[in-house]
C-alpha cells in the first residue's frame, strides 16, 4: 500500500554560528498509510520536533525527501495541517474566531465560516466557549482550540507535536479519547509526536520508537489492540505488555539522554 505521507532517508543537521552543529535527525524513513494513526516517541531532544518541522515544511536545508500523496514536496503544503507543541492560539481572537482563522484567510464569507467553525468547536468539545478569549481558557482547552483550528484547514494529514505535552495525565487521557473520536469521524492520516508511552499505545496503529541523538528509528511497533478504543483500554494486560516493551526500548535511550544532559 502506497503511503499518504512518506519520509525518505531524512537527515537534518543544525549548524550554529560558532561552527559547531547538531545532528538532530539521521536517516529516518517512514511511510504512513492513508487514514493511519502513527505515533513517534522518543526521549527529549531526540529530534522529534525537528522531524515535525521538516515534514511540515517549516525547516529547510535537509537531506532526503518528504513525499505527500506520491509527490515530493519542499516547503509548506496545503494537505498538511500542524498542531504545535507550544502555545499557539491567537490571544486577540475568541475561540470561534481562532477556529475560523484558516477559513477567513481562504476568503470564506463570515456567516459561512462561522457556521463551519462552530462544527469544529463542537467536535473538540468546546461548545459554550465560542466567545471566550484564550486567556479565559485552561491549557487543555487552548490546545483543543488549536486542534480545531487546524481541523478547519481540512488537511489530509494531521501533524501534531506533543499537543498535550504540558497537561496533566488525566486530562491527557480524556483528550486522547477526544482525538480518537475525531479521527474516527474525519479519517485523517495522523502523525502524532509524543514522549508519553501510554498516549502512544492508546491512540496508534503503529508506534515509531526513536533513539537519542542523532535521532534514528530504533523500532516500529504495530499496536494490535481492537478499535474503537477508549482510555479504558489501559487496564488490559495486552496494553500493559505494549507499554512494557516500548519502555524497554526507550529506557536505554532516555538514560543516554540524561547522561549527556548532565555532562553539558
Amino acid at each position: 500500500m502506497a503511503g499518504m505521507l512518506e519520509v525518505r532517508n531524512l537527515s537534518k543537521h543544525y549548524r550554529r554560528d560558532d561552527g559547531t552543529g547538531v545532528h538532530a535527525v539521521d536517516d529516518v524513513s517512514l511511510s504512513v498509510a492513508e487514514g493511519e494513526f502513527v505515533s513517534v516517541i522518543g526521549p527529549s531532544g531526540c529530534g522529534k520536533s525537528t522531524l515535525f518541522s521538516v515534514i511540515g515544511g517549516l525547516v529547510g536545508d535537509y537531506e532526503g525527501d518528504v513525499v505527500v500523496d506520491g509527490q515530493v514536496v519542499r516547503g509548506t503544503h496545503r494537505d498538511i495541517g500542524m498542531v504545535f507543541q507550544e502555545e499557539s492560539t491567537f490571544p486577540w481572537r475568541t475561540t470561534l474566531e481562532n477556529v475560523a482563522f484558516p477559513l477567513e484567510v481562504a476568503g470564506m464569507p463570515k456567516a459561512e465560516r462561522e457556521e463551519m467553525a462552530r462544527r469544529f468547536v463542537r467536535l473538540v468539545g468546546l461548545e459554550g466557549f465560542e466567545d471566550r478569549y484564550p486567556s479565559e481558557l485552561s491549557g487543555g482547552m487552548k490546545q483543543r482550540t488549536a486542534i480545531a483550528r487546524t481541523l478547519a484547514f481540512s488537511p489530509k494529514i494531521m501533524l501534531m507535536d506533543e499537543p498535550f505535552g504540558a497537561l496533566d495525565e488525566q486530562t491527557r487521557m480524556l483528550l486522547g479519547d477526544k482525538i480518537l473520536q475525531i479521527w474516527r469521524e474525519l479519517k485523517q492520516t495522523t502523525l502524532l509526536i509524543t514522549h508519553n508511552i501510554t498516549e502512544a499505545v492508546q491512540l496508534s496503529d503503529r508506534v515509531v520508537v526513536m533513539s537519542f541523538r542523532p535521532g534514528r528509528i530504533k523500532e516500529i511497533i504495530p499496536i494490535d489492540l481492537p478499535r474503537p478504543r477508549s482510555s479504558e483500554i489501559i487496564a488490559t494486560d495486552q496494553f500493559g505488555r505494549y507499554v512494557g516493551a516500548i519502555w524497554q526500548l526507550l529506557r536505554e535511550e532516555a538514560s543516554r539522554g540524561m547522561v549527556e544532559a548532565e555532562n553539558v
Binding site: 511540515g56 503544503h77 491567537f90 490571544p91 477567513e104
Partner: protein, 253 residues
Amino acid sequence: MRQSTIMSAKVAFVGLGSLAVLVAAAEYSVDAGWVSPFILAPPTEIWSAAVEIYKEEKPFRALGLTLGTTLAAIVLAISIGLPCGWALWRYQTVGRAYEGWLGALFASPKLLLYPLFLVLLGRNVGMLLIMGFVTATIPIMLKTREGLVTVSPTLINVGKAFNMTEHQILWKIMLPSAVPIIFTGIRLSMIYTLISIVALEFLLNFEGLGGMVGEMYDRYNIPAMYAAIIFVILMSLIYFRIVQRIQTWLRSV
C-alpha cells in the same frame, strides 16, 4: 460591587478632602501674611481671575488650538512612524544599528532644539507641528519595531503552516499581536507631544494653552497665571484619561 463603590467613595473623599484642606491652607497663609501674594495667589482671587479669563481670553479656543496641533502631530507621526517601525523590523541590520540612537533621542530633551527649528521654519503653527511630530514619531517607531520583533515564532509558524503569504502573516498575525505594544508607543507619544507643544507655546509666546499661561505671566498677573496653569493641568488630566480609555477600548476590539 457594593464594596468597590464604598471603596471608591472613600478614595474620592480622601482626595477631595485633602484638596479642600490645601486650598484653605493656601488662602489662610496669604491672608495671614506668611506667604507673599507675589508667590502664591489666594484661591479666591484665582477663582475670580479664572472667571475673568473665561470671559476675555477664551481658554477653550486656546485648548482647541493646542489639542488640534497635538493631534495633527500624532496623526502624522502614526502614519510615518508605523511604516518606519516596520522597516526597522524588516531590515534587521538597519533596525539594530538605529535602535540605540533612537532610544537615546527619545530620552533626550528635543525641546532644546527649538531655536534651530525657529530659524528653519519661523514662529508659526507649522513649526509647532513639526516639533510635535519629531517628538511623537520616535516612540511609535521604536514600539512598532519592538512589537513586531517580539511576536511569538510559533504564531508565525501557524501562519506558514496555513500556507499564508508573508504579507498575510504581517497583517493577520504580526500586527494584531503587536497592537498592545504599538499602542503603548502611541500613548507615550500622545503624552510627550502634548507636553512639548504646550512648552513651546509658552517659550514662543504663541497662542494655545502655553501661550495663555505665558501671557498672564508677562502681565505679572499672579492669580490669573495660577488660574491658567490650573486650567492646563485639568485639561491634561482629562486628556490622559481619554488616552487611557481609548487604549482599553482598542484592546477589547
